[in-house]
């Protein structure tokens, strides 16, 4: 039982990171109907921003840690909006495939520019937050895990408030439902799309730092696997659906952790993806997704 709870906790904390990244995929898909493959590299840049910022704050303090995280979120928000402005906006109205290929290009560009600037050798991520281990019952809980879950929870609630309670959030949902109708009520879709990229990228940056704290070495290709998993999580929850992305992330992280802790640990990724295939066979639109019949 203790073993089970321990694994569950590990799984949820990994899943929370997937969820944070998955939200970016799903929000961008919502407004532009394409998968931003460069998103996983924004996650990587977030970790590196944390690495460099972390050297300028006192190590192991909560205030310092939060400052680093906030700084990285701002940097990545700007990066995400710049990518959208330079690479995707000129392709507005072009076939989705063109945008998709561009996204892969941007992804490779960020990865190899990262290698050029940061070097390909993995680096140790600094301890920006204080680290302790708390014993609860027989459970050993690291403060990092609690931090991951806490930060992810706060960010998701914040996102929910933005999307459902604010003017720009309602505009995001409107653009996602019908871009032309949104323009006809006076929404500047470019602003909303830019905002969406900023928001998603900021969440990815937070995810990058939380990931780096728990898996403490970072390198320019670190985004590839978590990015892929988060993408899968977004599909699993129903792409375009915000609560779905959070649910998909948590589910995938938990499954992966349990498989990793079992006799089949070598096949953890294979099993995680097999589960995806099975779920999609029965629910092709994802767990919370609904198929909308397209009217022609």
């Amino acid at each position: 039982m203790t073993e089970f709870l321990q694994q569950l906790l590990n799984g949820i904390s990994l899943g929370a990171i997937y969820a944070l990244i998955a939200l970016g995929y799903t929000m961008v898909y919502g407004v532009l109907r394409f998968i931003n493959f460069a998103h996983s590299d924004v996650f990587m840049v977030g970790a590196f921003a944390g690495y460099y910022l972390g050297r300028h704050v006192p190590a192991g303090t909560i205030a310092g840690g939060l400052a680093v995280m906030l700084g990285a979120m701002v940097i990545c928000a700007i990066l995400g909006m710049t990518i959208e402005r330079l690479a995707y906006r000129p392709l507005r109205g072009a076939p989705t495939l063109n945008v998709l290929i561009t996204a892969i290009g941007v992804s490779l560009f960020l990865e190899y520019t990262g290698q050029l600037i940061f070097g390909a050798t993995p680096r140790t991520f600094p301890q920006i937050f204080p680290v302790t281990t708390v014993q609860i019952g027989g459970l050993s809980v690291s403060s990092n895990q609690l931090l991951v879950i806490g930060v992810a929870l706060v960010l998701m609630i914040g996102l929910q408030l933005i999307v459902f309670r604010t003017r720009i959030g309602t505009a995001m949902r409107a653009v996602s439902l019908n871009p032309n109708a949104a323009r006809l009520v006076g929404v500047n879709n470019d602003v909303v799309i830019s905002f969406t990229f900023g928001l998603g990228s900021a969440l990815a940056a937070a995810g990058g730092i939380l990931y780096a704290m728990n898996y403490p070495s970072i390198d320019p290709l670190m985004g590839v696997m978590p990015g892929l998993k988060a993408f899968v999580a977004a599909i699993l929850g129903g792409i375009g659906n915000i609560p779905g992305a959070a649910l998909g992330g948590l589910l995938l992280g938990t499954v992966e952790t349990f498989v990793a802790g079992s006799a089949f640990s070598t096949y953890k990724d294979a099993i995680a993806f097999a589960i995806l295939i099975v779920i999609l066979l029965f629910r092709p639109a994802g767990l919370l997704g609904r198929f909308v019949a397209e009217k022609v």
Partner: protein, 239 residues
């Protein structure tokens, strides 16, 4: 109020409009009728900025809006209720109305507009919390018009408000259109396939055929025109 001159619009190699011109005086209800593919919807989409014309000009209150992006055209008081209603299906009726007032900052004015919309369409008030996608066709049309009214328009373009609506609701909706025009002085450009109905409520009419204006005049005269009757009004003698 609105002057469209020699508008040419094409989708790739296909010409949708080949030199459409018309004028709409302030306070009037003017209708654009014509069959499928005549270019009625294209005309509206070009005026509201969803499409770019290849050539020609659109003057609204004396200023050119020909190349302005759609969201800035709405800001000038020209509002387009699109074909197929295009309500935000997953948003509540309330949120749809709020989106209609997206460009307004003055809360009091938004509240006043909301009351006005409820006055015109009491049904919307009853359905406030309901998701727009679950409304009936007629209710969605009311919502689409209500949403447009939320933004304080001085000029309203309605694309096929009778499309896909229960016959008994069509009369109501057209009554409301006339009411909005009379009580608020909102100028209306009405696109309709139901030519009988359109000619009944409008003062001026333009007939579009394959991207050209082929006939124009006071609605009452066009209603009696034998050629028009044969083509659009189901033939038959003048009644």
């Amino acid at each position: 109020m609105l002057t469209v001159s020699d508008l040419h619009v094409s989708y790739g190699a296909i010409n949708a409009l080949s030199g459409v011109s018309f004028t709409i005086p302030q306070g009037a209800i003017v209708t654009l009728i014509g069959g499928n593919g005549a270019g009625k919807t294209t005309t509206l989409r070009t005026i509201s900025g969803l499409l770019r014309p290849r050539s020609g000009s659109i003057l609204f209150r004396g200023e050119s809006i020909t190349t302005l992006p759609a969201h800035t055209i709405v800001a000038r008081g020209l509002c387009h209720v699109p074909e197929g209603r295009m309500v935000f299906a997953n948003l509540s009726v309330d949120e749809n109305l709020s989106m209609g007032a997206y460009l307004l900052r003055d809360r009091e004015r938004i509240a006043r507009n909301r009351e006005f919309v409820f006055g015109v369409f009491p049904r919307l008030k009853e359905r406030l919390r309901q998701t727009a996608g679950t409304l009936s066709g007629g209710e969605q049309q009311m919502l689409a018009i209500g949403r447009a009214l939320m933004g304080d328009p001085t000029f309203l373009m309605l694309d096929e408000p009778s499309l896909g609506i229960a016959p008994r609701l069509i009369a109501t909706i057209f009554e409301k259109i006339v009411e909005i025009n009379r009580s608020q002085g909102i100028t209306i450009l009405l696109v309709e396939q139901n030519a009988n109905l359109a000619l009944e409520v409008s003062s001026q009419a333009y007939v579009l055929e394959t991207g050209r204006v082929v006939m124009q005049g006071p609605s009452a005269e066009l209603r009696d025109d034998p050629q028009l009757r044969a083509t659009y009004l189901g033939g038959g003698p003048v009644t």
